[in-house]
């Protein structure tokens, strides 16, 4: 019976499909290789429009998804019966007012607190939105001098780690046997733990291992604690910057990570430094970079030599695919062109440099680029000297030859007079002291038995460092291990005491965001559990042991210490003319104090040139590239579903890591997406699914780190593979990339959950892109304007008419908006299985299109959300008027009317409507429900949803204006995606106000509407992307010949 039915519906589907008009496909933009190569399977899929057709719902799959439908009907039946059996009274609700009214809390009105969020690499100035004393969302702090309102996907997701149900609720103790083979955790008390630890500390041999510490006060506590117990402090991060620091030390004498000013650079060359995605302080860099792209008369140029397809590479004007062994060629090739060929700079006569550069005469050829292009890049650098910037770094540049690369980069910057201008190395980023070499030293000491007590704070080398570092084994030789993890993770399982630290939103601290700029971190709720800040822990142990400097012992809380620290260290510098209390309040109110320090150029040490060694590049075989992703970074946020479900900006794959191979490699090895491959590096091996990535070098196999956590939370447990284990330790140095790797194709396949293919926008003017030269030539004619006519009478918009403009030229694809939207609008993550069925719930997505040849593909990004059309196709098909037009131009979605026919989603040309297939809200485990925004309805099963233009924010802004007896001003309303965006790509406002920022953008010649020819009349405009590659495009036609009137 059911089989027959199935058969019938399949036929029906085929029939319906045959009735559809055949669409021509755009040749220029393609979303994936299947599409490019017109794979018949893909073409079938593209015609189907939806990944999961309701008609072919798999009923055989009872074990997983099939039950849900059945169960749903059963439950529905039951509740209907109950409803008829007795008349229902609403449940009795209690109202529990405060006993004593806190002055600052107004029920239903959010409070915002300035604070700082540090993710292990970058400290961001943020505003924390709280409602009735509970933090709900992190917003960018637009008045902050450094980060200027930018946020990242990971900082937006931080709120979930606060309400993580798997956080430890109090101090724990491990009842180890002598060989430490067991793990029997029991609860303990702070007093008992403190007594035991302070006794143990007196024995000496103390070491502290921390992650990067952005907080000067915390660094001071750690320093004084080390003084008290003659302890050693080691700092380690999985994404440590040993290479940059070693290079700086060799070239300039100081072991530090310099500060880069991308806003001052007109010509930027990056060698594998993913500064827009994951390298050092990406949000700040993105902000700075975007500022140089807005004015086309002085637009900057970005050249990226990319081993992996990084986010920075995707935003490059000129991208050159390389493999790690060619990194040095890129820099030395440029140096050769400038110094040897053109005889520029004072180094032209340097014999050492000349002999260094001798073998790099044919770099361009090795790099597979036109010699002319290399020359052009070199000339651009020289012409913009003092205003150019060369950077190299990241895991992909953590190679055996990283010192050569870094010295060469420093030399290039010095020759170009960038040092002291775009590179500021006198002060450096004090937080980024994490070092693999330091950790290896610690391992040596532990093995020798010199470490009796080890305190580990926010550092997890057992996950993030190759096993061969020997850290796990060495840990067993330490008498007492104290760990401050907030959960059971890979490292805390080996600790004697696990003394959970407060969450960043629960504790006082501070941060040095840039040299000379300090921010405070305010707690926004009291500790949810029996936790204690690590700083207070150190202070307590010193106090109990009666050891240490006066300042460490004098205070009862870290808050007091912090205040005193600021009074002594920061107030004298920046508090002129103020009392300390006023200074402190000002710091809290404004979110920062101080200003960026600037310093002059440093002298390049010519003797460091001897450090530059030639690199042998393999002609055959593959080189390993490890890289962190925008969504997961180093992998420390392992229990946040939002981040796992956030598609990778480039590959659009969720919930997995994989090995990226180039098109030619895929053909050579006869693999395609989802094939399984075994990678062998030395003695280590890893089995991973394959992803065929356009624009990758043929000699590269790239794998993302940050996946494959085995402990640390149910969400991330076993998702992907731990690629850190492929890193090697060579001569006391941890090497992540450039290692020879053997690839073996395995039998079998593995399904990757990709969000891209069911977002095909077929053959129309979807992304408009032009080179700067094209744009200057034909400004008004950049966009094909369609002739449209209206069959509707149209709406009247007498008051406001809301609209949005998105500048594709600014958007870097960082995806912070997606997570911000998720956090703001209570959007669930659905899991890998349902992503594969095309049921992800993101209200805003970032589409990524590749252009050009697949070998050297370029990338464009396009955030797409509900376009709030005037002639909305969804509105006309709703049988119950659940989606209707408002008089201020919104396409309203009325959840309580929706009966779930999904006609609207079928009829939406932009595919932005999302359906609640299940009761996702019921899966929210306590206390995660506390992260839900009370201003936005939590949707139930069977209801359609989509972007609302943050209608609750509109109404809040209107209320506020009404309370203040004034009219709504332009800029009063900022949507969640807009506040999260680090590039100010998104502008929201009133189209009826001719002076609004939005109206000005609408009038811009780059502005166009998506699928204009359909005349759905969207309220969203996109601004064409401009690529400053110094060339005119070969085909003058920037717009394709799709079907239109």
């Amino acid at each position: 019976m059911s089989d027959m039915n199935h058969h019938h519906t399949d036929q029906e589907l085929e029939f319906k499909k045959s009735l559809r008009p055949q669409t021509s496909r755009d040749e220029k933009y393609w979303q994936s290789l299947e599409e490019y190569s017109k794979d018949p399977e893909f073409m079938k899929l593209a015609q189907t429009e939806f990944m999961s057709s309701p008609l072919s719902e798999d009923s055989k799959d009872e074990s997983e998804g099939g039950w849900a439908r059945r169960e749903f009907l059963k439950l529905m039946g039951a509740s209907l019966a109950m409803a008829t059996a007795s008349c229902v009274r609403r449940p009795v609700q209690k109202i529990v007012p405060y006993s004593k009214q806190p002055e600052e809390v107004t029920l239903g009105v959010p409070n915002y607190y300035t604070s700082t969020y540090f993710d292990g690499s970058e400290a961001l100035g943020v505003l924390i939105k709280t409602r009735e004393g509970r933090p709900l969302k992190l917003e960018g702090h637009s008045d902050h001098i450094i980060t200027q309102g930018g946020t990242s996907a990971r900082s937006q997701a931080a709120i979930l780690s606060l309400y993580d149900p798997e956080r430890l609720k109090g101090p724990r103790k491990n009842l180890f046997n002598e060989k430490r083979t067991n793990k029997d955790m029991v609860d303990t008390t702070w007093d008992k733990a403190d007594a035991a630890i302070s006794e143990q500390l007196k024995k000496g041999g103390v070491a502290i291992l921390t992650g990067a510490l952005a907080s000067p006060a915390t660094r001071s506590v750690v320093g004084e604690f080390c003084q008290a117990f003659k302890a050693d402090h080691y700092s380690w991060e999985a994404l440590a910057h040993d290479d940059v620091r070693a290079g700086q030390k060799a070239a300039y004498g100081e072991d530090l990570v310099p500060v880069y000013h991308f806003d001052r650079a007109k010509m930027i060359v990056s060698i594998d430094a993913d500064f827009l995605g994951t390298w050092l302080t990406p949000v700040t860099f993105t902000k700075q970079f975007s500022k140089t792209r807005k004015d086309f008369s002085k637009m900057s140029r970005l050249v990226v030599f990319d081993s992996n397809y990084s986010l920075t590479g995707a935003n490059a004007d000129i991208r050159v695919r390389i493999k790690p062994s060619l990194q040095l060629d890129a820099v030395m090739g440029l140096l050769h062109e400038l110094v040897v060929v053109q005889g520029k700079s004072s180094y032209a006569g340097n014999t050492q440099l000349k002999s260094n550069l001798a073998s790099f005469a044919s770099s361009a050829k090795k790099l597979g680029m036109e010699p002319e292009l290399l020359k052009r890049i070199a000339n651009d650098l020289w012409e913009n000297r003092g205003q150019s910037l060369v950077v190299a770094g990241g895991l992909a540049a953590s190679t055996a030859h990283s010192l050569s690369l870094q010295v060469a980069v420093n030399l290039l910057n010095s020759i170009l007079e960038n040092d002291g201008k775009t590179v500021e190395g006198t002060h450096g980023l004090a937080a980024l002291k994490g070092s693999n070499e330091g950790l290896l030293e610690l391992v040596k000491k532990m093995n020798k038995g010199e470490v009796k007590t080890l305190i580990i704070h926010r550092s997890n080398p057992i996950y993030g460092l190759t096993e061969k570092s020997g850290f796990a084994e060495a840990l067993k030789k330490v008498e007492m291990v104290v760990c401050t993890s907030d959960r059971m993770d890979e490292v805390s399982q080996y600790a004697h005491y696990i003394l959970p630290d407060n969450h960043a939103l629960e504790t006082w601290s501070d941060a040095e965001i840039a040299p000379g700029v300090y921010s405070l971190q305010q707690p926004t709720l009291r500790s949810m559990y029996d936790t204690r800040s690590v700083q207070l822990g150190l202070m307590t142990w010193a106090f109990l042991a009666k050891q240490g400097p006066q300042r460490l012992l004098a205070y009862e809380t870290f808050y007091d210490y912090l205040r005193n620290f600021w009074k002594e260290e920061i107030f004298p510098k920046y508090g002129k003319g103020l009392s300390f209390d006023a200074f402190w309040d000002k710091a809290l109110q404004e979110g920062y104090v101080g200003e960026e320090k600037n310093a002059g150029a440093r002298g390049f040490k010519a003797e460091s040139l001897t450090q530059i060694k030639n690199v042998k590049s393999l002609d055959e075989g593959y080189e390993l590239v490890l890289y962190p992703t925008v969504q997961l970074g180093d992998g420390s946020q392992s229990n946040i579903a939002w981040l796992f479900e956030l598609p990778d900006p480039i590959t659009k794959i969720t919930w997995d890591n994989y090995v990226s191979v180039s098109l030619a490699t895929a053909q050579k090895l006869n693999v395609k997406d989802g094939s399984l491959m075994k990678l062998e590096v030395g003695e280590d091996s890893l089995e991973l699914p394959v992803h065929v990535q356009p624009g990758l070098h043929d000699g590269v196999l790239a794998v993302a780190v940050g996946y494959g956590r085995m402990m640390g939370g149910e969400v991330g447990k076993g998702v992907g593979k731990n690629a850190y284990q492929l890193a090697q330790v060579v001569n006391g140095k941890v090497i992540h990339s450039g290692l020879p790797v053997k690839a073996t194709v395995l039998k079998g396949t593995y399904k990757l959950a990709q969000t891209q293919q069911h977002h095909s926008m077929e053959g129309r003017q979807i992304i408009v892109e032009a080179t700067l030269k094209d744009y200057e030539k034909k400004k008004e004619h950049l966009i094909h304007r369609h002739h449209t006519w209206n069959i509707w009478s149209g709406h009247q918009y007498n008051g406001n008419k809301w609209g949005m403009a998105i500048d594709l030229n600014s958007c870097t694809g960082c995806s912070a908006c997606m997570v911000a939207c998720q956090s703001e609008n209570n959007i669930p993550a659905v899991g890998k299985k349902y992503v594969m069925q095309g049921r992800e719930m993101h209200w805003i997505r970032v589409d990524r299109y590749f252009t050009g040849s697949p070998e050297n593909a370029e990338t464009v990004f396009q955030p797409v959300m509900c376009q709030h059309c005037d002639n909305a196709p969804c509105e006309t098909v709703c049988p119950v008027l659940a989606t209707v037009h408002t008089d201020d131009g919104l396409n309203a979605m009325v959840y309580n009317r929706c009966v779930g026919t999904r006609y609207c989603a079928n009829n939406c040309p932009y595919k932005v409507r999302r359906f609640n297939w299940f009761n996702y809200a019921k899966l929210i485990e306590k206390p995660m429900h506390m992260a839900l925004n009370p201003d936005v309805t939590v949707r139930v099963r069977g209801v359609m949803e989509k972007c609302t233009f943050c209608v609750h924010r509109i109404s809040q802004a209107k209320d506020k204006a009404r309370q203040e007896d004034r009219k709504l001003r332009d800029g009063d309303i900022k949507t969640a995606c807009q506040t999260a965006c680090p590039t100010d790509a998104i502008v929201f406002g009133d189209m009826n106000d001719p002076e609004s920022k939005l109206s000005k953008r609408f009038k811009d010649e780059r502005a166009y509407a998506l699928l204009e020819e359909w005349h759905a009349a969207p309220a969203v405009r996109y601004m064409a992307k401009i690529r400053n590659n110094g060339q005119e495009s070969k085909s003058a036609e920037t717009h394709n010949k799709g079907e239109h009137a």
Binding site: T84, C87, Q93, P97, S99, K100, V109, N896, V936
Partner: protein, 178 residues
């Protein structure tokens, strides 16, 4: 055609059946199906509005002090009650109960009278700003010894006011539902 006729007949029968079922089981406190007009639950402390707001003439906003700033009208914190009741009528057992709770830092758990469904959002401050009286919706609270729900708080009741041209009130769905 035939089929459709039978189907609608069937639906009609079911609906009538349901309605008679409701009337037979008797929901005396519910004048309209699903609405709570007249709902007057017992409160832990028999707070008398007719005494406070009526006889003593205390302004509504003295206790519900956030109503002009927020979408919610707050139930006053105990500290507000104790402003007066530290001195006034301290011998009453109810006041003593409050006092005890206050000293312990505990709260009184009041029973909610006016309940809107979760998908309907009402903004007190916006209505007050437009000059709507508390009594327009809440009725003569100053005469109530025990507060009851005066209006039925149905959507039709909301829309009725919003439709009056002189009120210039928005009629968008998103005004209340988002």
């Amino acid at each position: 055609m035939q089929r459709r006729y039978f189907f609608s007949l069937f639906v009609g029968l079911v609906v009538t059946g349901l309605m008679s079922l409701v009337s037979l089981t008797g929901c005396k406190f519910q004048p309209g199906f699903g609405y709570n007009q007249g709902h007057a639950p017992e409160q832990p402390i028999p707070f008398d509005h007719s005494l406070h707001a009526g006889k003593q003439n205390i302004q509504c906003q003295y206790c519900h002090n956030q109503v002009e700033r927020s979408k919610h009208s707050n139930i006053p914190a105990l500290s507000t009650c104790m402003n007066c009741h530290m001195q006034v009528k301290t011998d009453s057992p109810h006041i003593q109960k409050m006092r005890e709770a206050y000293d312990k830092g505990e709260s009184i758990e009041w029973v909610r009278v006016h309940m809107l469904p979760d998908h309907a959002r009402f903004n007190h401050a916006a209505h007050l700003k437009k000059g709507v009286n508390c009594q327009t919706c809440h009725g003569p609270v100053e005469t109530m010894t025990k507060v009851y729900q005066y209006s039925d708080l149905s959507m039709g009741w909301c829309i009725n006011c919003h439709r009056q041209p002189e009120n210039k009130a928005p009629l968008n769905c998103t005004t209340c539902h988002y």
